[in-house]
């Protein structure tokens, strides 16, 4: 089978509307502003993973509690990678904010996450440190927060991700992947339920909310990847749609104007959380569409992931949407 994914720089120029500047990026999709039609999907690659790994190694845990490093550009030492990222930023950055500079720190990515297990585990570790900081600074944590047992659920999440990583080296790979995706779904639901109950409070703690949103993003990304490895595309579509509804219900309760009035002493964070929520929504919302394109083009989920991971020349690949999709 020919490669379904094309190097972004070459492919983009051949997309109708690209030259005229009528394409906008929404999460991992490119859309024609005139027709509203989705023309292609963007997919991050192993190169971005390399850059993110460098960033994490360079700055360790010293940066913000949720994301990790402040900017790929400030952390990446490899000039060749830096130049490729800068080139991509100039190509698509002006089209619509791609925020490549903060990609490694974001709670979201572009397309199916290519972040290595090490990077994700690093993020979970940072989340857990924030959990401990949050719990130690408040004498009487709300009962709802205690009931969530966030630390324990993060440890479970860590275990599931380690097993996902390990599955590549096991004969019973499919069984392991099946177990992992099921457990990740439980974790997602636990975090979603906890977040939903927490935003019902009159006063919301910004750190707690960001921890839960990051955990939701990690759970959703990892189980989507597991389902793709298993090539369970239709099941992944259903799962993605169900999760989208939960994220929708959660974020419906906390538009930015509401957050500004309910974040205790941290109103400046309302915009950042709202922006994260929007990116999370749009990224997760793109999953059923990307699966539809894969189904129509008969692309195996594992091939898709492996090609993306193995790509280390281009930071982004592009999957054109079939005409009748």
């Amino acid at each position: 089978m020919t490669s379904p994914l094309l190097p972004f720089q070459i492919a983009a120029e051949n997309i109708p509307g690209w030259a005229a500047g009528q394409l906008v990026r929404h999460g991992a999709i490119l859309k024609d502003v005139n027709t509203g039609r989705i023309v292609a999907h963007l997919q991050e690659t192993g190169l971005l993973n390399q850059a993110a790994s460098q960033g994490v190694n360079m700055l360790g845990n010293a940066a913000n509690p949720i994301g990790g490093v402040a900017s790929i550009f400030t952390a990446v030492q490899n000039e060749q990678i830096k130049s490729k990222l800068a080139n991509l930023e100039s190509l698509v950055g002006g089209m619509h904010t791609l925020q490549l500079a903060t990609l490694a720190t974001s709670v979201v990515g572009i397309g199916v996450t290519m972040a290595s297990t090490a990077i994700i585990l690093n993020r979970i570790k940072q989340l857990d440190e924030t959990v401990q900081r949050v719990e130690s600074k408040v004498d009487a944590m709300p009962a709802k927060w205690r009931e969530m047992r966030v630390h324990e659920t993060l440890v479970d999440l860590q275990t599931h991700l380690e097993r996902l990583d390990e599955s590549a080296h096991r004969r019973d790979r499919e069984q392991v992947l099946g177990n992992v995706e099921e457990k990740l779904d439980y974790s997602f639901n636990q975090f979603a339920d906890g977040a939903h109950r927490m935003v019902g409070n009159v006063i919301i703690d910004a750190d707690q909310l960001r921890i839960l949103m990051s955990a939701l993003s990690i759970c959703a990304g990892a189980q989507f990847k597991a389902l793709l490895y298993l090539d369970l595309k239709e099941a992944a579509q259903k799962r993605a749609t169900r999760q989208n509804r939960k994220i929708e219900q959660l974020t419906w309760l906390i538009p930015q104007d509401v957050l500004e009035t309910r974040l205790a002493d941290k109103t400046d964070q309302a915009q950042a959380i709202s922006s994260d929520a929007s990116e999370l929504r749009i990224r997760l919302a793109g999953r059923p569409q990307i699966l539809e394109s894969m189904i129509m083009s008969d692309i195996h989920g594992r091939d898709y992931i492996e090609q993306s991971e193995q790509e280390t020349d281009e930071p982004l690949l592009l999957l054109p949407v079939p005409q009748d999709a």
Binding site: I29, G36, R37, I38, P255, D257, S278, I282, Q289, E292
Partner: protein, 222 residues
């Protein structure tokens, strides 16, 4: 399942978020224009009006504020509807096909969409135009009252008890207090009483309408 509708839903939620933010900011920005007017009216208030402030309030202040509230509401409602139509078109949909127009939301039927129909046709606006006593836009004396003792003592002082200096002091005290009350109440009617989260206000009413439009658009995708 229509995979594209998932993306449309995410964009509708983004629209709702930014529309709510813009609304709150737009209303707050407009408040100084009305408080300047009410401040000027209160500055020109006669000694007689200070004593019979209730009558002054209903005659001079309330109509100006109520008319401002209706004007701002009408303008912002139109802006919200236009924005919703633009947002709908950006999804590749024909906005006129959808049932989220004001007319529909107000229960008046699609034929009476706000952009086409006279304002009075819309029940939502018509109820304000008649300004019933239960309307949240009423700005009568009851919403700005000084303690009765202050009015009695202040009124008596202005009316003749005490010297000129004392009279000016008391008059200024009453006027300043009244001005602040009017300002605070304008804020509460326009943006919402921060202490009473359930109290009706223009902003809260329009936020609910934005939510209704967003929700109707989401339902349309199901």
């Amino acid at each position: 399942m229509n995979p594209k509708s998932e993306l449309d839903r995410a964009e509708i939620l983004d629209w709702r978020n930014s529309e709510r933010l813009e609304l709150v900011s737009a209303i707050k920005e407009r408040i100084p224009s009305i408080t300047q007017k009410t401040d000027a009216l209160i500055d020109d208030m006669s000694a007689w009006d200070s004593i019979w402030r209730s009558s002054f309030h209903d005659r001079e202040i309330a109509p100006v504020v109520e008319s401002w509230l209706v004007e701002v509401m009408t303008e912002l409602k139109h802006e919200i509807e236009e924005s919703a139509q633009i947002s709908e078109r950006s999804l590749g949909n024909d906005a006129t096909d959808h049932s989220w127009t004001w007319g529909e939301i107000a229960g008046a039927g699609a034929a009476t969409a706000a952009t086409l129909a006279p304002l009075a046709v819309l029940p939502f606006v018509a109820s304000i135009a008649t300004v019933s006593t239960t309307s949240f836009l009423v700005f009568s004396t009851s919403v700005v009252s000084l303690p009765i003792l202050a009015v009695v003592v202040g009124g008596a002082t202005i009316a003749g008890v005490g010297g000129e200096k004392t009279r000016r002091y008391v008059s200024s005290w009453i006027t300043d207090g009244y001005r602040e009350q009017v300002r605070a109440e304008i804020y509460n009617k326009a943006v919402g009483d921060p202490v009473d989260l359930e109290a009706p206000a223009l902003c809260r009413r329009l936020l609910a309408d934005i939510d209704l439009i967003a929700n109707t658009r989401l339902e349309h995708l199901e």
